[in-house]
């Protein structure tokens, strides 16, 4: 196992003291996100996200498969979040780590259970053929808060994705290559956005979008998944210190503002990409 060493006590004390004084190393306010970079394309369904030094690539692909027998008219969505040693030198490929389980669970909730994508719209011929949509999320560099970054990458890639158009005559299905006929976007019901908080000193201090060094000293964390309509899709607080109800309410208010801000950025990136084409 390639070990990665934690920061020294000096660094940990320094960061904690900074947070208490409302100072972060990158001069951010406690409720600020790091700058978000979204690069879409060149092909459909690709999104590369930077959140400070955290870097995530999402790629959406599709294929025609047989539907599950118990859901004959629903397409499928698969999320793959295998952590790569590129961002996590200490992980062993092929074995899911604790972190990976957490990330996949939150994204699964946000995108699949939150029904961000209309799966009925992916049906081609009931019982016979449906679209299976796959989102591969690759973590390229890790400087904290991979969940929020992965969510932005996944949802922007899905929004950017186009599947080949089809014609159905009876049971005959023709798939038109994207060079021949304009491909079709997925029907996206809403865009779930994750906002992660880190807590320090028994919940007395909170920051949004923690960096890796901040994550190392946090005492607890919470991820809220919500959309621009101020609907909360998921809320995940996996362990850590207990929080007061009031804190959670404050966080949810901040999260609504952040979700709106992030959605606008994704939308701007999508619009810019569209006008280019």
């Amino acid at each position: 196992m390639v070990r990665e060493f934690e920061s020294s006590n000096n660094e940990k004390d320094f960061i904690l003291q900074g947070i208490k004084e409302g100072l972060r190393l990158d001069n951010r306010d406690k409720y600020d996100f790091r700058p978000i970079g979204i690069i879409l394309g060149p092909d459909y369904g690709r999104s590369e996200i930077t959140l400070g030094n955290t870097r995530v690539l999402a790629k959406v692909s599709c294929e025609v498969v047989r539907p599950y027998q118990d859901r004959p008219t629903e397409g499928m969505i698969t999320l793959s979040t295998e952590l790569s040693p590129m961002a996590f030198p200490s992980i062993e490929p092929g074995r899911p780590s604790e972190e990976e389980v957490l990330v996949s669970r939150i994204l699964e909730k946000a995108i699949k259970r939150g029904q961000a994508i209309d799966t009925e719209g992916l049906c081609i011929v009931a019982n016979e053929k449906v679209w299976s949509i796959r989102v591969d999320i690759h973590f390229l560099d890790h400087d904290g808060n991979i969940i929020d970054a992965a969510c932005i990458a996944a949802i922007s890639a899905l929004a950017h994705f186009r599947r080949p158009d089809i014609t159905v005559i009876g049971e005959e299905v023709t798939i038109h290559p994207i060079e021949q006929r304009n491909p079709v976007p997925l029907s996206i019901r809403h865009m779930p956005i994750c906002v992660t908080f880190a807590f320090f000193e028994n919940g007395e201090y909170v920051v949004v979008d923690p960096t890796l060094q901040e994550e190392q000293i946090r005492q607890g964390d919470m991820t809220m998944t919500l959309n621009i309509h101020k609907e909360i899709c998921a809320l995940s607080k996996a362990g850590g210190i207990p929080l007061e109800m009031e804190t959670i309410i404050v966080c949810s208010q901040i999260a609504t503002i952040k979700a709106k801000w992030i959605t606008e950025q994704i939308q701007a990136a999508l619009d810019a990409e569209k006008s280019k084409k």
Binding site: R46, M86, R134, D136
Partner: protein, 226 residues
């Protein structure tokens, strides 16, 4: 002559782009042939797992990650190719009982992916300062149904071909380090491909030198006389 879909001549490679030091690892680089792009990171010499430890040299660990889907036998084969090609140039004896980890991530596959992965790895190893006695560059070509040799094929050009060839050469003697040729082909066709790719590899070495020079020139300002 120029009747390829992207208006290239048969013996031209696509525009190459190289970026270095992109990630917070010891070394990283991306290498592109046109749209095909591979990102590679290198970590090490670092601590090695006890069971992988070699007493007289560094252990070279290669992980290849596909863009779509979970890694399979194809990616394992690419790992094996990369490790074999670079084990012969990395001076692993200088860092015994350590690990040099290479992670190659396909960013976009538009043909010639092994060649791009080999070139990206060369760049990332250079970026990490891993000692090497030579560097490696690779190029692919295909022979289509009309018996034409197409250098550096795109994904579309790799379909319905008679044969597919990938060659990797070292820089100092431009001799063959790795080759994979598949399909059906004659001796002459094979050696024509060999020659064509050998020349193209020379082009890639120039590009690599150019990229390194550009990067170092940024620092030229603070070269002080010692």
């Amino acid at each position: 002559m120029a009747n390829r879909a992207d208006k290239r001549s048969f013996s031209t490679i696509r525009p190459i782009s190289i970026s270095q030091s992109l990630l917070s690892r010891d070394g990283s680089a991306s290498f592109s042939f046109g749209k095909t792009k591979v990102l590679c990171s290198v970590n090490g010499p670092a601590e090695v797992k006890l069971r992988d430890e070699k007493l007289d040299k560094a252990t070279i660990d290669v992980v290849v990650r596909p863009l779509v889907g979970t890694p399979g036998t194809k990616d394992k084969t690419h790992e094996y190719i990369l490790r074999s090609a670079f084990e012969s140039v990395i001076q692993s004896g200088l860092h015994p009982r350590t690990q040099i980890q290479i992670v190659s991530q396909v960013m976009m596959d538009d043909g010639s992916i092994i060649a791009a992965a080999i070139n990206a790895t060369t760049m990332a190893l250079i970026d990490a300062g891993i000692p090497m006695k030579d560097i490696v560059a690779a190029v692919s070509c295909v022979i289509n149904k009309e018996d034409q040799i197409l250098l550096d094929p795109t994904a579309q050009e790799m379909e319905n071909v008679k044969s597919i060839h990938t060659f990797a050469f070292d820089k100092s003697s431009s001799s063959l380090l790795f080759c994979e040729s598949l399909g059906l082909f004659t001796d002459d066709q094979y050696f024509n491909c060999y020659e064509l790719c050998n020349v193209a590899a020379g082009r890639i070495f120039e590009e690599i030198r150019g990229a390194i020079t550009n990067k170092l020139q940024e620092y030229q300002g603070y070269q002080t006389e010692l």
